[in-house]
Symmetry: C2
Subunit: 501 residues, 2 copies
């Protein structure tokens, strides 16, 4: 009894995690009930006889969770059945020419050679990724047709019936999976990427508070909840296999929603890989939060401003990507945040050069410097991610949020709150002229859009390691010669003048 209750609980959890699973179960039930009614329908049964079972079998085996997986399996199965059927008939014909004693031997050799070769081909990585199921069905159908042909003379008829029933089953699956609450693997991959950006952004935005504020021992539940929320990023660490599977399925899917047939799914994997690298750094950062508890707060506070800003601006840029992915528009204010995080890097380096940490103990220094270096890494990765996202946005032909404004080279853009849009708190960009400005802007909602600012990769002109790292990649360098960053209350300020060459 306890066991049953546990199973019900588990079932509820599984269903709650993704309610589409329940729908999928109903869809499979529907398809199967539909196809097995072929058996009852007299004219159809007379036509196909016992072969109707192939329709049932096809439905059970082919119907997968997403449209892409179903379509891939269905096409694999249909094509493999067709080809193997043809070859099987050929093999049978060839064998039957050679007399009754040699025939079984010849057939056995055919089956052996075909099975061994095909099985070996299944190890090829490219075959394994997309055609594994097709090759399996090929082996199966070839063996069944060429061997069962030994008994029946109406082998052509058999092959024809089998192919039609397989296609009937496959088509039912595909139709139901497309037209009844479809689950698109492509859409899933897209959402997965967006939500991965979201979780990392959440961590980076909360990092400052977590690192610089002494934890109140009061409400343990509250603290634990926040920690759990922070550690959602852990799901990103092992997202690789999931992303790859979804991309493989997505390649089979026809146009749906805003996704074309040849949507650049490969680029999703590239962005995902960079994001995963960032997640590794965040994982290290997270374990550092705990060990850095022993560093006296007054030492940490010395670096608070740039560190807070580096993480929060990186976080904001990721949040922006996540939002624009969800809307399938080109990320716009994104680059501003990247610039801000990099200018914070520069502030940090100035601060460190001033010898602010000269009196810190070496062992505390190690710990603190690790946090610093991880954040620098994250800022650099954010830039790489920015490029990769821009590439994705242009190859996937995401829409522009609004028309680009006519920002010329050498002009400076300035963000101002703009309440005319009602769907979100957009900010409009005003061209000011060639002056170095820094404006106090209420950024309470953390969203700014600079419409003219695509592909701005920043090189901080300073002979430090940050510079060096940037030189490594093959970036498009846009000099920001007047990045100003003398503010103290950094996260509430938009302080960078972006100047395009």
């Amino acid at each position: 009894m306890e066991k049953v209750r546990e199973i019900v609980r588990e079932g509820r959890r599984v269903g709650k995690e993704d309610p589409r699973r329940v729908v999928h179960a109903f869809k499979v039930g529907l398809a199967l009930a539909l196809v097995s009614s072929f058996y009852y329908y007299q004219p159809l049964y007379d036509n196909f006889g016992v072969n109707a079972m192939w329709a049932v079998m096809t439905v059970v085996v082919v119907f997968e969770f997403s449209v892409g997986a179903t379509l891939g399996k269905g096409i694999n199965r249909a094509v493999a059945t067709l080809v193997a059927g043809g070859l099987g008939i050929g093999a049978h014909h060839l064998a039957s020419l050679s007399g009754t004693t040699v025939e079984p031997i010849l057939l056995a050799i055919f089956v052996f050679v075909q099975a061994a070769l095909s099985t070996f081909v299944r190890f090829f990585p490219r075959v394994k990724a997309r055609y594994d199921y097709g090759v399996l069905i090929f082996i199966l159908t070839f063996a069944l047709i060429s061997v069962s042909g030994f008994r029946e003379d109406e082998i052509l008829d058999l092959a024809h019936k089998r192919l039609s029933t397989v296609i009937m089953g496959g088509v039912s699956c595909v139709l139901i999976s497309i037209f009844v609450c479809p689950v698109w693997a492509g859409q899933d991959l897209h959402s997965l990427l967006a939500s991965n950006f979201d979780t990392l952004a959440h961590f980076l935005q909360e990092f400052g508070d977590e690192y610089f504020e002494a934890t109140e021992d009061g409400d343990i539940k509250e603290v634990e909840k926040r920690r759990r929320n922070l550690e959602r990023y852990k799901s990103v660490l092992n997202s690789k296999s999931n992303e790859e599977a979804l991309a493989n399925f997505a390649k089979w899917e026809p146009r749906h929603g805003q996704f074309r047939f040849r949507h650049p799914w490969k680029q999703y994997l590239a962005v995902g890989a960079l994001l995963r690298q960032c997640a590794y750094r965040i994982d290290a950062l997270n374990s550092n939060i705990n060990s850095d508890m022993q560093i006296p707060m007054d030492i940490k506070k010395k670096l608070e401003e740039p560190l807070r800003r580096m993480s929060s601006e990186s976080g904001k840029s990721m949040k922006e990507v996540s939002t624009s992915l969800k809307k399938m528009t080109k990320p716009s204010s994104f680059d501003i945040h990247v610039v801000n995080s990099q200018s914070a890097c520069k502030t940090l380096s100035t601060l460190l050069k001033s010898g602010i940490l000269n009196d810190v103990e070496p062992l505390q220094m190690i710990s603190l410097m690790t946090t610093v270096s991880l954040l620098i890494d994250i800022v650099n990765l954010t830039e790489k991610i920015s490029e990769s996202v821009h590439e994705l946005a242009s190859s996937a032909k995401f829409k522009n949020k609004t028309k680009p404004s006519k920002s010329d080279s050498g002009s400076i853009v300035r963000a101002m709150p703009n309440k005319s849009h009602d769907d979100d708190d957009d900010h409009v960009v005003t061209i000011l002229g060639d002056v170095d400005t820094s404006n106090n802007v209420d950024q309470s909602h953390g969203e700014i859009s600079v419409h003219s600012c695509h592909h701005v990769a920043i090189k901080i002109d300073d002979d430090d390691s940050i510079h060096e790292k940037h030189e490594d990649g093959d970036h498009i360098h846009v000099h920001t010669s007047r990045v100003s960053c003398e503010h103290t209350n950094a996260s509430d300020l938009l302080d960078s003048g972006v100047q395009k060459n």
Copy 2:
């Protein structure tokens, strides 16, 4: 033509990567040729008729690369066919009681409910991991039996024949996979873990040379080859899904070689997870080697001795684990290396406290400190891995390399080269008494064994972060109050007195 040549090349590569793949292909061919000859054999055919095709189908679908996977699928298929057959007959009987008009409706409902429920159950993580295939076959067989029963009256006979042919096919697969060049998933998991230890050990042992020696620009090929060799560790980063799959398969396998039926496969996953964490650190370390090129060598050289020793001793301990895993003996000298790497940590902290780096620029400091902190992390992880490996060794009942010596608490062990063993360069342990010693020992082969030294987890009694980190885990603390580490040529010295409490 070019295409064909490419395929042949790819085939050769795939075959070379793991020659057992070629053997597997032949095995499948053999099994299929064997089973399809059932068709020709008159008495058998008369008995089973067209149902003989289920044997062929079973072979094609069930025969997997490893014994565990084949056995798992075979058992899943047989049990699912049996249960679903029984339920199918029941459903058919129930429906036939209700008259001809209601019967097809009732059957369709049964099929629908069964398919929907079972499909939903496939989403349960535990079911998905081990019984996914069984549930699939359950849906299939239930639908086929209950529906086809609508046509034939000899439904019991049908179910019986189907089950026998399935079992015939399954048994052929299992027998061939066990007795013809078997591929054991358990053995594979074991070897994978050993080779993962090996690659990480290789990196750590080479790290010192790579980091502290200026790269000669001379032979680019040589340098590239070494780099490629170093970066083998990258395969460890994404080993998770592979390890989990192998562990799932291994659970199905009977006793083979030194692996019992209930071998602690779960512990392999635990050790693997720790190793992967270590690989993440190594990945960061590797990217630091490149960015640290800009730090002047004379600054780096200041920390050379402890850093070299930390990485090489951690590497040696991993190498030792790899060797002892391969031989399935308990790792013995392992803990000595862990102790050594930790004493090097202490040397490092003393060195840093002496203010040796006071004149280093902050940005170089960040980079250098990151390397330091990563190495400290690795040393700490090595200790955790040590515990996990000891747990594995004892729960898997690995043999002792030799009899344990009678080391008492409070005594100090000392390693001396011993040439009496001929299989490898073992070192024997001598109990010396309660004195603080450090001995010059020729460790040119990097292998020492301290037979009495199990589960030595070290706490460095110093009020620094290393200590703190150790306090976090639930370790068995053995105080090493007199760890001596004042040597300069560290990697050639065995310098730690291990004192047990």
